[in-house]
């Protein structure tokens, strides 16, 4: 067939990796080794892998901080190999794993205002965004403090907030839950849900599968710079071989569901949250008690 092949992918793909290879030093093994991956607009995707699997390299490639040795990375249709980092910054926001690599302003408020101000957002609008994000992340009380007076956990929230105020269509969070207490983890889960509701595309990188499983549309496993599994979290977390090979663990509740033989559930069924497994057990018990003479 000749003629019109419609541009099927580039329009919908918010982030696309096409056969990407990246190596830090000559002779060293590739940090990213022929990786292809697409994240559609408005999707929420978790990327999980062990230390050294290439997660942080991947996110730096995704916002143009690093450029591929070969292959192509596009963000919102822009080729990161060509578009200036400044331009990409309006499309993809990255909150670093280590906030010390990101924060530099003298107060939290300035830190949150820096990004949008730099993008040329009007002053009033910057202020309202700072207020909104501070409320969302519970940072109202610390706006006038120096970021370095805050504990590591709060500094991480500031780093995330300074990305949110830029309102980029793509938000990338690198290990947002490490070192965070449960109350903050819940705040972060609420934040991801709010971003989803606002139609933003979210990529979350980490190894905290119990945080990610109930939140994401897709879970991608990264091992040695390649994608080894990619799909709905329930399927990926049932892929015991891929999980083990990647040095990961499933959430405790998923592991428990694997050990149970529940009536009315296929053997490969995996619970993603406590509520799901509780419901499944109650259902299973109801079926069994009906079956009893």
């Amino acid at each position: 067939m000749s003629g019109v092949v419609p541009e099927m992918r580039p329009r919908d793909a918010m982030l696309s990796f096409d056969a990407v290879r990246f190596t830090y030093q000559r002779d060293a093994p590739s940090a990213i080794d022929g990786l292809s991956l697409e994240v559609a607009a408005t999707e929420v995707v978790g990327i999980v892998g062990a230390n050294g699997s290439g997660k942080t390299t991947l996110v730096k490639l995704a916002n143009g901080l690093l450029r591929p040795d070969s292959g192509r990375v596009t963000v919102d249709g822009l080729d990161t190999g060509r578009a200036p980092v400044r331009t990409l910054a309006a499309h993809a926001g990255l909150a670093f794993q280590n906030p010390n690599h990101q924060l530099f302003a003298a107060t939290v408020a300035e830190e949150l205002a820096f990004g949008p101000r730099n993008l040329g957002v009007p002053v009033d609008e910057v202020e309202s965004r700072v207020g909104e994000v501070a409320a969302q992340l519970g940072l109202d009380g610390v706006l006038e403090l120096h970021p370095y007076r805050l504990g590591l956990a709060t500094r991480k929230l500031v780093a995330i907030g300074s990305v949110l105020t830029m309102r980029t269509p793509l938000v990338i969070l690198d290990e947002p839950t490490t070192g965070q207490d449960h109350a903050t983890v819940r705040t972060l889960a609420g934040l991801v849900a709010a971003l989803r509701g606002a139609g933003r595309t979210v990529v979350i990188v980490g190894h905290d599968t119990s945080f990610l499983a109930p939140l994401v549309d897709r879970l991608v496993i990264l091992a040695a710079g390649r994608v080894t599994a990619d799909g709905p979290p329930r399927l990926v977390l049932a892929d015991d071989a891929a999980i083990t090979e990647a040095g990961l663990e499933v959430p405790q509740i998923t592991d428990l569901s694997r050990r149970l033989d529940l009536v009315g559930r296929p053997g490969a069924w995996r619970a993603l949250s406590v509520g799901e497994l509780a419901d499944a057990i109650v259902d299973s018990e109801a079926v069994e008690s009906e079956a009893r003479p």
Partner: protein, 305 residues
């Protein structure tokens, strides 16, 4: 058993209150606590609950390096960290923090470990042996000549533990030691902590968010809330009762997922005040306990607990 500085690790704290200059309230209020040699104690609490302050007091970092007003008493392996210089305490109390890059200063991994030993005056020949042994124990054998800046975050965290262990402290305090680690790294750190306490007679205090691993590993859990100890006991007693599941949720903490599941299946607890509720009911806090609990429930022999 290898020789530990100061013999077995015992910690005895009485009425410890700590206040930082300019802070609105105390960081710790009337903490009383005993840890015996060989005990592994998990410390849980929200950010700002006082966990880090408690661990830093045991090492003498508070008040010697971080100024604070302190009342009450602390004895660690018979020494008083409020009085002894930090350098003296460093031989007795190993410290691992959540931010390994803040602890790293040397050109090679081996030098990093040797630095603390030098400060203790350990002879060269013994130093070489201890460095090798520490690298092996944390799974970094062969990386001694690398620059600490070029190893991964997880490896840096294990290096921080190796630095602490090489000093052969009888007490080890770890503040969020797994914050940068993947599951394999977390298992390695908890396994190491277990071995250092049970097999080698050290006492280990770990502040960590991983309540599933703590419940499965620690002898005892201590819950801090706003600077006070609100619960202290074996993991089953601290986490595994319907009342505590609710109380912990009320202060922003969680129990292991298997415990939360059992609490939901068992139905609501007795609620506030005395009631006819299942007071003695114990919920599972580990995977093994959960599987057994669900089997009993399925058999109908023990439907409520």
């Amino acid at each position: 058993m290898i020789g530990l500085n100061g013999g077995g690790g015992t910690i005895s704290i009485r009425d410890l209150t700590v206040r930082y200059p300019g802070a609105p309230g105390p960081a710790l209020t009337r903490i009383t606590l005993d840890v015996v040699a060989g005990e592994l104690v998990g410390v849980i609490g929200l950010t700002g609950a006082g966990r880090s302050t408690l661990l830093r007091c045991v090492a003498g970092i508070v008040p010697h390096l971080i100024p604070a007003t302190v009342s009450g008493s602390i004895h660690v392996t018979g020494l008083d960290p409020l009085v002894e210089p930090v350098g003296t305490m460093a031989g007795r109390v190993g410290v691992v923090l959540d931010d390994p890059d803040s602890q790293i200063s040397q050109a090679t991994v081996a030098d990093e470990i040797a630095l603390g030993l030098e400060s203790l005056g350990v002879p060269w020949a013994e130093m070489v042996v201890r460095v090798e042994r520490a690298l092996e124990e944390v799974g970094l054998a062969g990386l001694g000549d690398r620059s600490p800046a070029t190893i991964s975050g997880g490896e840096q965290q294990r290096l921080a533990i190796a630095c602490a262990m090489a000093m052969r402290p009888s007490v080890l305090v770890m503040d969020e030691p797994t914050a940068n680690l993947d599951p394999a790294g977390c298992s390695a750190v908890f396994g190491l902590a277990r071995r250092l306490s049970r097999d080698e007679g050290r006492s280990v205090l770990i502040a960590d968010q991983d309540v599933e691993r703590l419940a499965a590993t620690a002898d005892r859990l201590m819950v801090l809330d706003a600077g006070r100890i609100v619960a202290d006991g074996p993991p089953g007693a601290v986490l595994g009762r319907p009342q505590t599941v609710e109380a912990l949720a009320g202060i922003g903490l969680r129990v292991p997922q298997v415990t939360e599941l059992a609490a939901r299946l068992a139905g609501p607890g007795p609620g506030p005040g005395p009631g006819p509720g299942p007071e003695g009911m114990v919920l599972p806090v580990t995977m093994g306990e959960a599987v057994a609990w669900l089997a009993r429930r399925a058999a109908g022999t023990d439907a409520v607990g």
